[in-house]
């Protein structure tokens, strides 16, 4: 696939170009003492609460295990971000709300100062985000934390997988308030670039958002949707996909379809996990750590 960057190559690339993102390979984010400009956040994604099927025989237990795993981290996150598909889609508005309610009840046990949410297409595309907003609030918003400007972009409430001109206008207006060298982190559900449109791994007008972000020197994007770790560069902007917490998906184009990978009883929960991000606001460096749902 064009422009796909393997983790090893990406690490080299960041080391060479000083792109502002580095990876840690094991027990990350724990050894370094937290400085004034340091903070730590956790990204969880694609929990698909309500899904049932052979790809995850522990569909009703995995999220609870993930909550326990986050709570057992040595360093409590400043905040936790769920990057969409909190629930698995259903045609029933009643069932959708039941799933959101159950999800919310489970994740309230997370130990963090703040827990933030954004929708995926499974949460929002069938009702344009109505139920999501009832339970979790706005589908796009910004917040600032220790010098980093965070932007949450909604590319799912429109079932056509578009951000839309109105939200893009909002993004442009927000970015105009930022200095060129501001540290900016974008959260989104779908990739903003054409990762693999053949599997709907794209945002139809995502390039417009990337164009708006391009003038800014320090931008990183964290997203979900593809249920696997993936790293990609559009110019100097790094895009990091997180693992999911219900079932892993195959690598783009490496399987006949994007059907979930089968559950392996020998290695249960393989391919599932969450991410810790050790952020240095001053240098706009983000040290990523990948954690399993259960320790091997």
């Amino acid at each position: 696939m064009a422009n796909e960057i393997e983790r090893r190559d990406f690490l080299k690339l960041t080391a060479i170009s000083g792109l502002g993102v580095v990876f840690a390979s094991a027990l990350p984010g724990m050894a370094r003492a937290a400085g004034q400009d340091d903070f730590y956040f956790v990204q969880l994604s694609d929990t698909h609460w309500g899904f049932e099927g052979p790809p995850n025989p522990d569909a009703r237990g995995t999220l609870k295990k993930a909550v326990a795993a986050v709570n057992s981290l040595e360093r409590e996150p400043d905040f936790i971000m769920f990057t969409g598909d909190l629930t698995h889609t259903t045609d029933s508005p009643v069932e959708r709300r039941k799933r959101m309610s159950e999800f919310k009840e489970i994740v309230k046990d997370l130990k963090a100062k703040t827990v933030r949410f954004m929708p995926g297409e499974h949460d929002a595309s069938l009702d344009n985000g109505k139920a999501f907003q009832e339970f979790f609030g706005a589908t796009h918003y910004t917040f600032d934390h220790k010098g980093v400007h965070f932007i949450v972009l909604d590319n799912v409430s429109d079932p056509r997988a578009i951000i839309g001109d109105e939200q893009l206008g909002w993004l442009a207006a927000d970015l105009r308030q930022q200095k060129d060298d501001a540290s900016i982190v974008v959260f989104t559900h779908r990739p903003l670039f054409d990762l693999y449109p053949q599997w709907d791994w794209a945002t139809r007008d995502g390039a417009k958002a990337v164009d708006l972000l391009m003038p800014y020197e320090n931008v990183a994007v964290f997203y979900g949707h593809i249920h696997q770790e993936h790293h990609h560069m559009t110019g100097h902007i790094a895009h990091h996909a997180a693992k999911g917490l219900m079932f892993p998906l195959p690598e783009a184009g490496k399987a006949p379809t994007r059907a979930p990978l089968p559950w392996n009883p020998v290695e249960p929960y393989k391919g599932l996990g969450f991410r810790g991000v050790d952020a240095d606001a001053k240098t706009a460096k983000y040290e990523l750590s990948e954690f399993p749902v259960v320790k091997a």
Partner: protein, 125 residues
């Protein structure tokens, strides 16, 4: 049998009109040869037919309808897509310029089987 002058004039005029119409028809057909129309029906969560075979360089009209909800048709390798709106017939002209087998998919989220809603386009020489 004889024709009076007026009747003859009328007959010639009718023939000219007919020829003119025919000429226009032939001209139109020459400029835009009749293209094969392939009807594709979308229904949650599949397309019928799910496999389409075309010849490289031969234009076709893909004609879409949906039996239930708002759908999409996206053929990324040819950079073409269409919305498929309930109650309407959506048409897309395609001239395949390469051979191979390509995925087409629904790119408008339509429910729990959306991710499986795809088909194959095969283009041969």
């Amino acid at each position: 049998m004889t024709l009076n002058r007026n009747a003859l004039r009328a007959a010639v005029a009718a023939a000219v009109v007919g020829l003119s119409s025919l000429g226009a028809y032939v001209t139109a057909q020459s400029a835009e040869p009749k293209e094969q129309v392939i009807k594709i029906t979308a229904k949650r969560f599949n397309y019928t037919p799910g496999e389409v075979k075309l010849r490289k360089g031969v234009p076709v009209i893909l004609e879409f309808t949906t039996q239930d909800v708002f759908m999409g048709f996206n053929l990324p390798d040819f950079n073409v897509r269409a919305d498929i709106v309930p109650g309407k017939v959506m048409r897309l002209r395609l001239v395949p310029d390469k051979t191979g087998t390509f995925i087409f998919l629904c790119d408008v989220f339509c429910g729990s089987g959306h991710e499986e809603m795809s088909g194959k386009l095969t283009v041969i020489d």
